[in-house]
């Protein structure tokens, strides 16, 4: 198929798709005229039922907890799939990360990169931890906190070398942390089943004050596990790609 034929076929297909799409949206009430009833129903009952003021996280981990389990396992499978796809093929060898010529003077990382990276690593770990543990109060949650935590490890690589990055994040530890995160989420749900409630029911005490860190039952716990899993998955992904780029050679 020549590029011209491909473009013509694409034009026909996109015209059909756009027509169906606009026909579908002609039947909706328009932008800004959300009629409910799901949104207002949740908003009027969320504090009474879960004592959480971060309604989006309450939806994510309590009202729609089952969907979040599925999404988390997509993340888990993608990280595992990358480890399988980027395996060492026949005819490749992996260089050692330690420099073989010991007396070679490497140019050090420039000061302009090193200084901000070192200064910011500590605060970013703190911010990531804060985000992952405050899902029920503010706009935060396990997913965002986990990604910010993973970024701190990338900063360590940027300010130093690959050996430092590998030393503070060995693959075995990351695998274990990721497994604990994913299994913890499922285990919280299964404990609810063992206690006689539906799967992922909020069975822990709901706390006194709506929006405190210790309130909202299982939402805070699940957010913590999700943060662990997302951080470990992203550090694994970046570590895999770093190893491929820096260490793996052919022949």
């Amino acid at each position: 198929m020549t590029p011209r034929q491909r473009l013509v076929l694409f034009g026909v297909a996109i015209a059909g798709l756009a027509a169906c799409y606009l026909w579908a949206f002609a039947g909706l009430p328009g932008f800004g005229r959300y009629p409910g009833p799901y949104g207002p129903a949740i908003l009027s009952r969320v504090i009474a039922q879960t004592n959480a003021t971060g309604v989006v996280s309450a939806v994510n981990f309590d009202y729609r907890g089952f969907d979040t389990v599925g999404e988390e396992f997509i993340l888990f499978t993608a990280a595992a799939g990358m480890a399988v796809v980027l395996r060492r093929l026949r005819g490749e060898r992996e260089r050692s990360p330690v420099d073989e010529a010991r007396d070679r003077a490497l140019p050090p990382t420039s000061g302009a990169v090193r200084m901000p990276a070192l200064l910011l690593t500590g605060p970013i770990v703190l911010i990531g931890w804060w985000l992952a543990s405050h899902a029920q109060t503010n706009p935060s949650g396990g997913f965002q906190g986990g990604v910010v935590l993973a970024t701190a490890f990338v900063l360590v690589y940027l300010s130093g070398e690959f050996l430092t990055f590998r030393r503070i994040s060995p693959v075995a530890v990351l695998d274990a942390v990721e497994a604990v995160g994913a299994a913890g989420f499922v285990a919280v749900g299964l404990t609810a089943v063992a206690l006689g409630f539906p799967y992922l029911y909020d069975y822990l005490p709901l706390g006194q004050v709506p929006g405190a860190v210790s309130s909202s039952g299982t939402i805070a716990l699940i957010s913590f596990f999700v943060g662990l899993e997302v951080a470990a998955a992203f550090i694994l992904i970046i570590g895999e790609l770093l190893e491929q780029t820096l260490l793996v050679r052919s022949g």
């Binding site: 009833p37 935060s140 965002q144 990604v147 990338v154 992904i237």
Partner: protein, 95 residues
């Protein structure tokens, strides 16, 4: 189902919010075209990072701070890092 709309201290006039959202939507549409038309790989990574920040501001104007946080951290930091690593791997083999 009817809920009383109380006047909060954060309310802005509807026309102002509409203008802001329309401007950001037009910028996002232009940003998408700019990203697609970039062919150089390095420039593509930077354009994607800028597009991610623009999307994050749009989500903020849609009253969704959680999605803004996610899009900022993922679209402006993690995705460019992953892309840069893949590009470095692919380019090294070509030399």
């Amino acid at each position: 189902m009817t809920s009383v709309a109380a006047a909060t201290p954060y309310a802005v006039p509807n026309a102002l919010m509409d203008t802001l959202q329309v401007t950001l939507l037009v910028l996002v549409a232009a940003g998408a075209v700019a990203v697609v038309r970039t062919r150089n790989r390095m420039r593509l990574v930077l354009m994607l990072s800028g597009y991610g920040v623009l999307l994050a501001v749009l989500f903020f104007a849609f009253q969704a701070p959680d999605v803004t946080l996610s899009e900022l951290t993922v679209g402006a930091v993690v995705l460019p890092v992953i892309l840069l690593l893949a590009i470095a791997k692919v380019r090294k083999r070509a030399e």
